[in-house]
């Protein structure tokens, strides 16, 4: 199986990264190479790291309610950095009614509290495969 490199990012000012760190570690245990940005990164910083590390996918976490502005801002920053093709997944405290809007903006999957970690790992694997134009 291919070793995919992915970035887990915490955009915005929210410091709650228990979930982000758990996902990062679980993905690592599942065979991914994972870079975790640490908390309080700007969308531009996250996009720059994603490009610099040449990742196959980006995962974003937000707990403060700022996802509606920040997730699309990361997509824009990736676009500006010429990396529109990198798939972006997101998770956190996200009301159900926000999910269609985030998907429309280009977030490929959105995970809410209680999602089994295997579901998340599979989604990352699929996103990485598609990014590399391979079959899973």
């Amino acid at each position: 199986m291919e070793l995919y490199r992915i970035l887990i990012g915490k955009p915005g000012l929210d410091g709650h990264d228990r979930g982000a760190k758990f996902i990062a570690r679980a993905l690592r245990d599942a065979g991914f190479e994972v870079i975790y940005t640490g908390i309080r990164r700007t969308p531009d910083e996250i996009a720059a790291s994603a490009v610099q590390e040449d990742v196959a996918a980006v995962g974003l976490s937000s707990m403060s309610g700022a996802h509606a502005r920040l997730f699309p801002a990361v997509l824009e920053a990736l676009d500006k950095a010429g990396a529109k093709d990198i798939p972006v997944l997101g998770g956190g405290i996200i009301p159900a009614e926000d999910i269609p809007r985030l998907k429309k903006a280009g977030i490929s999957s959105v995970f809410t509290p209680g999602t089994p970690v295997d579901t998340i790992i599979n989604a990352f694997r699929e996103a990485c495969c598609q990014h590399h134009q391979q079959r899973c």
Binding site: L13, I39, T112, P113
Partner: protein, 552 residues
């Protein structure tokens, strides 16, 4: 029961008699359903040395059974719901609603830009203004926040850390404008930076600069605002980040010892500042472990203060604490189940002898709570207080073999971990080398893996699920809030005396560059001149630099 025991008699004649004379109990007689009297303090048949050493009497060293001789028979804990959102005006309205509903203290939640020292118009604040609490940019916002709330009567807890000095200064000036002197104000600022680096994340400056700001506050308040608690040393967020109960106690008390040592090094008098140290713990769902944890923390702190700092004054050794139920245990699935979780957790806090309590609302795994949910959360505390009977006798779990064993074990394990932190160079070194964060991360990972594997059952999440559309009334914030806040800030900035602002910020910078200056005075002056939070923190960022969090 050896009611004639000399040790008991001595406690009754001293601590108990003094307390009863000053604070009569809530009722003349406490009774069970049917009239049987409820004892104030149940005791073993024989009050031997081992009992006195480990448990003793409430209101007396080592405080295992509580910090007050009569505990909740004298006065119930303070029911203090953390609230605050969007604008100062909206928060002010919520506070007045809560006070009307019988809440007895205020607890202010600030939005993240405020907590990290950014004004609402800063690019870093984009999308975060008014989201998780109220936005405060200048004194003008604070004046609105406490409009018609008498600051000489109400105690206010403010969850603010890196910019605590600025918000405290604003509070003092608002009180002044109401005719209330600094020496009359009551409340608490969180002001606990050490846990921010390992758990909560709203740091601005590096650890050593933060310790200076904290010590400056201790010093100023000791002289000028003696009824204000200058720090709330918080295990809550360490636990939320995934620590175990023992780690929560250990890292919190280790932080506490660091603040004490720093203040002593700065020449402060232990018996003046230590009585104003308050603590803040998490109450999670394991009822008996949590109740034992609070008892263990109280005893361990008293012993550490006595053994390490030769404390003798009771209020210097007493661990007084606020508790909040565990947000991380709330589930988005079957949200009503959260009311039951919160009830168990709140009960643990009361059985453990908390001084004040916040109960979470059922819908907090989804968004900020609605008014209905907040009321149910407050009612939960009122039911425990007035219907359950647990508040009618002091430390009702004492003497249970399991509880005492657990209390001893948590105390010993926490002490071992504190000693380990000391061996590794102390708390600041263990922040910088990642030891504390690593310990918490490992515990969090193991816990979550147990849930994923089904070894640990979370009702409604990995067992007993139902098909449901998670549709609860969600509190929505109007996106126009951010624009309005920015507009008001611009107006305040346009109308103030610009020369005074320049001068105050220059004075602050000079003071910050001199290690010996206390920054409270220049910050008070800056706040009075309507310098903004972002301007004040910006000056300090320039002098102290900024801390950057760990990546991996």
């Amino acid at each position: 029961m050896s009611k004639q025991d000399p040790a008991l008699q001595e406690w009754q004649d001293n601590e108990l008699a003094r307390t009863l004379a000053r604070f009569p109990e809530r009722k003349e007689a406490f009774t069970c359903h049917g009239g049987r009297p409820v004892e104030r303090l149940a005791l073993p048949k024989e009050i031997d040395e081992a009992y006195q050493d480990k448990l003793g009497f409430p209101g007396r060293y080592p405080y295992t059974r509580g910090v007050q001789p009569t505990m909740y028979r004298g006065r119930l804990w303070t029911m203090r719901q953390y609230a605050g959102f969007s604008t100062a005006a909206a928060s002010n309205e919520r506070y007045r609603y809560l006070l009307d509903q019988g809440q007895t203290g205020l607890s202010v939640a600030f939005d993240l830009p405020t907590q990290i020292g950014y004004d609402s118009d800063d690019p870093m604040a984009l999308g975060e203004v008014g989201k998780v609490g109220v936005a405060i940019d200048t004194l003008a916002d604070m004046e609105i926040l406490f409009d018609q709330i008498p600051l000489d009567k109400i105690s206010t807890s403010m969850t603010i850390n890196s910019p605590a000095m600025v918000l405290l200064a604003m509070y003092i000036v608002v009180a002044e404008k109401q005719g209330v002197k600094a020496e009359q104000i009551m409340g608490t600022i969180q002001n606990d930076l050490l846990k921010e680096y390992v758990a909560r994340g709203t740091y601005i400056f590096p650890p050593r600069a933060s310790l200076r700001l904290i010590t400056n506050i201790f010093q100023w308040c000791s002289a000028n605002a003696p009824r204000f608690n200058t720090i709330s040393i918080s295990g809550y967020h360490i636990r939320e980040a995934g620590s175990t109960a023992t780690q929560e106690v250990a890292f919190t008390l280790a932080n506490g010892l660091t603040y004490v040592q720093t203040a002593l090094d700065a020449g402060l008098d232990l018996d003046v500042f230590a009585p104003r140290l308050a603590f803040f713990f998490n109450a999670s769902s394991n009822l008996l472990e949590e109740a034992a944890k609070f008892r263990a923390a109280r005893r361990l702190w008293a012993r550490l203060m006595k053994e390490r700092f030769q404390a003798e004054k009771p209020s210097t050794m007493m661990l007084r604490f606020h508790t909040q139920t565990a947000g991380n245990t709330l589930t988005a699935q079957q949200v009503d189940n959260n009311i039951v979780r919160v009830t168990i957790q709140a009960l643990a806090a009361v059985l453990g002898g908390t001084q004040s309590l916040h109960t979470n609302s059922r819908d907090e795994a989804l968004s900020l709570p609605t008014e209905d949910s907040v009321r149910t959360a407050l009612r939960t505390q009122q039911i425990i207080a007035h219907e359950s009977g647990v508040a009618d006798t002091v430390d009702p779990l004492a003497g249970s073999w399991y509880i005492e064993e657990l209390t001893d074990a948590i105390e010993q394990e926490a002490l071992d971990l504190i000693n380990q932190v000391d061996e590794f160079g102390g708390v600041v070194a263990c922040i910088e080398n990642g030891f504390i964060a690593g310990q918490i991360e490992d515990a969090a990972y193991q816990y979550q893996q147990q849930i994923e594997s089904g070894e640990r059952v979370i009702v409604g999440v990995n067992e007993f699920q139902v098909d449901e559309d998670v549709e609860v009334p969600v509190m929505r914030l109007d996106p126009a809030v951010e624009d309005e806040q920015v507009r008001q800030l611009k107006q305040v900035k346009a109308e103030r005396d610009q020369e005074a602002v320049r001068q105050c910020l220059a004075d602050l910078e000079n003071a910050a560059r001199s290690d010996s200056a206390n920054l409270m005075k220049p910050v008070l002056a800056a706040v009075r001149a309507y310098c903004s939070l972002g301007e004040i923190c910006g000056v300090l960022r320039g002098v102290f630099g900024e801390y950057r969090g760990r990546a991996w």
